[in-house]
């Protein structure tokens, strides 16, 4: 283990494959695709989405996804060992309770004078607040919103909080509920596929959206809780190129990958499995495949799990971190679904059709975002 590793002591997840880690594991093992026709709200566009079983409750979908995942992550921990002021929460989300805000703004745009009360749930920080209240966490609370890398960056910042002694346990991850604004926004940017997305396929034509909450309980190696995996290190960089398009040279992506390896004190050859960002947009996958090859060469096992779970935006980095934790702790590597004909230049180790079972000492996850934000995380087995 690198000097800077922190322990993953709890995992919680809710996504299109179901509520809980067991549902995620079963879905991955069965190579089940959660993408299905949109029925959450009525819109003209008809791209498939992965909808999570969100329970009724306070706040917006994002709040309920986050709290459900956080409670599962904390379920196996006796938090009496950690006073509330030493429990921190770091969450990534892009939209917060936007479904409530958009309902209000749409009524206003129609010339009505709607009740503004539900707007209190609109800001993203209220998601972090809901999780902190559910866990009685009174230490630092941070909400990160770096678009689709938010969940991964939350884990990086959580690691820093632990290293700097700012908390004893950090509940970190991401949450994102589907909403009209995000669905129609991606549709109007012409980034969505009308069929379940096909990462790294020669005929890929865009992403599929999903929703999820994914929280990891992280603690210092000396914590009283048994580690399930190690978060060894990670890095964040910026393309400084374009707000929505990746830099064609992939230089900042490569810098993030190398930065994560340096932080984890690992050579590239030690990475056995990569959960790629793999949105299935033509530009993103091409740059990512090229960057992965530049750093890791050919042959490393790669998954594009958004083909099963959809792109869960602010939750994606955390959801895929949970998959990496499963890979290093149980040797379970998800399949890339829907991809029939890998594109020239696609990762040669792409796991197609069915999941792999293989010992995985080290796994890496990548996340990229609007604004050119790139994050990479490395997990190790116990």
């Amino acid at each position: 283990m690198s000097e800077g590793g922190v322990a993953v002591v709890g995992l919680g997840v809710i996504c299109g494959l179901g509520a809980g880690l067991d549902a995620l594991r079963a879905g991955v093992l069965a190579a089940r695709c959660a993408l299905r026709p949109l029925d959450l709200f009525e819109l003209e566009a008809c791209a498939p989405v992965a909808v999570a079983p969100v329970a009724a409750g306070e706040g917006a979908r994002t709040h309920r996804l986050a709290v459900a995942a956080a409670l599962e992550a904390a379920a196996s921990l006796d938090l009496r060992a950690c006073p509330p002021h030493r429990r921190a929460v770091v969450l990534g989300t892009t939209t917060g309770g936007i479904e409530l805000g958009e309902a209000w703004l749409l009524k206003r745009a129609a010339g009505l004078d709607p009740d503004p009360t539900p707007l209190r749930w609109h800001p993203p920080y209220t998601v972090t607040q809901a999780v902190a209240e559910a866990l009685d966490a009174r230490g630092p609370r941070l909400t990160l919103s770096t678009a689709c890398s938010s969940g991964a960056n939350a884990l990086l910042v959580a690691q820093d909080l632990l290293h700097q002694g700012e908390a004893d346990v950090v509940f970190a991850g991401g949450a994102e509920g589907l909403a009209r604004t995000t669905y129609q926004g991606f549709a109007n940017l012409r980034l969505m596929s009308s069929t379940p997305c096909r990462p790294f396929d020669a005929d890929r034509d865009g992403l599929s959206l999903g929703e999820a909450g994914a929280i990891l309980a992280l603690a210092r190696p000396t914590s009283p809780w048994a580690p399930k995996a190690w978060l060894l290190g990670g890095a964040c960089t910026c393309d400084a190129h374009h707000i929505t398009a990746p830099a064609p040279d992939g230089a900042a992506v490569i810098a993030a990958l190398r930065g994560a390896l340096a932080r984890a004190e690992l050579a590239p050859s030690r990475i056995a499995y990569i959960n790629a960002h793999a949105t299935a947009t033509p530009a993103n996958d091409a740059v990512e495949a090229s960057a992965l090859r530049a750093v890791f060469g050919d042959g490393v096992a790669v998954s594009g799990s958004k083909s099963a779970l959809g792109h869960t935006l602010g939750a994606a980095g955390a959801l895929e971190a949970v998959l990496c934790a499963l890979a290093v702790s149980e040797g379970l590597r998800p399949a890339t679904l829907n991809t029939r004909r890998p594109a020239p230049g696609a990762p040669s180790g792409l796991i197609l059709g069915q999941p792999q079972r293989a010992a995985t000492p080290y796994a890496l996850s990548t996340s990229f975002a609007f604004g050119g934000n790139n994050a990479a995380l490395i997990f190790g087995s116990v």
Partner: protein
């Protein structure tokens, strides 16, 4: 250890630096337009390489872009909602735009913490430096509230440069998020910058409730 190296404040949409072409500036989000004139004073003499991080703080991003997207959605139909407004409505837009304009390829984070946003951004920048994520960190916090129910119109920005090496400025020993929240939103950083600005020559560093200076 972390030191405050430079700071600047703005409460107007001042003219951006002349070095940029008008085409690069035309479509910036409101928070970026507010913050842009502050970049020159806090980056003067600094080589902006990958060791320089950027932490952006926004409470509501550019709400006018969200409103524009939904107004188009309502008036002309979902398919006609502006994709440009959508991409500019995300919180990470300011950090992305500033990174593009200044070639910032290092640590890049956006914090949004409601009434704690100012203090939380400063805390994240302090943490990033302590954790060795960068050697210098630009902490840029902007509030661009349009006139809309529940919001008081407010257009202000504060920028600081923090450094992992000693400067003539004070050492930032720690940030108290709770005290920052009590002050609200941008106020902690606004107060910090103003207190440093107005400090008489030769006197000690100001005593602030949310930031411990030494």
């Amino acid at each position: 250890m972390v030191w405050i190296a430079a700071f600047a404040t703005s409460e107007t949409y001042a003219a951006p630096p002349a070095r940029f072409e008008a085409s690069a500036l035309r479509r910036l989000t409101a928070p970026t337009a507010l913050a842009l004139p502050l970049m020159a004073p806090i980056t003067e003499g600094v080589t902006l390489d990958e060791t320089v991080g950027l932490v952006a703080g926004l409470d509501l991003a550019d709400l006018s872009q969200t409103m524009s997207f939904l107004e188009g959605y309502q008036a002309r139909g979902p398919r006609f909602a502006s994709p440009q407004s959508f991409q500019r409505s995300v919180h990470g837009a300011m950090a992305g735009e500033l990174a593009i304009l200044y070639g910032l390829r290092g640590w890049n984070m956006t914090v949004t913490q409601g009434p704690q946003t100012g203090a939380a951004a400063l805390y994240q920048a302090w943490l990033a430096l302590r954790a060795g994520r960068c050697r210098q960190c630009l902490c840029v916090v902007a509030v661009a509230h349009p006139e809309i129910a529940c919001l008081t119109p407010d257009h202000r920005a504060v920028a600081l440069r923090l450094s992992a090496t000693p400067t003539r400025g004070p050492e930032l020993l720690g940030v108290d998020l709770g005290a920052g929240e009590a002050l609200g939103g941008l106020e902690p950083l606004w107060g910090l910058a103003r207190a440093l600005e107005s400090r008489p020559e030769g006197e000690g560093w100001p005593d602030l409730p949310f930031a411990r200076l030494g």
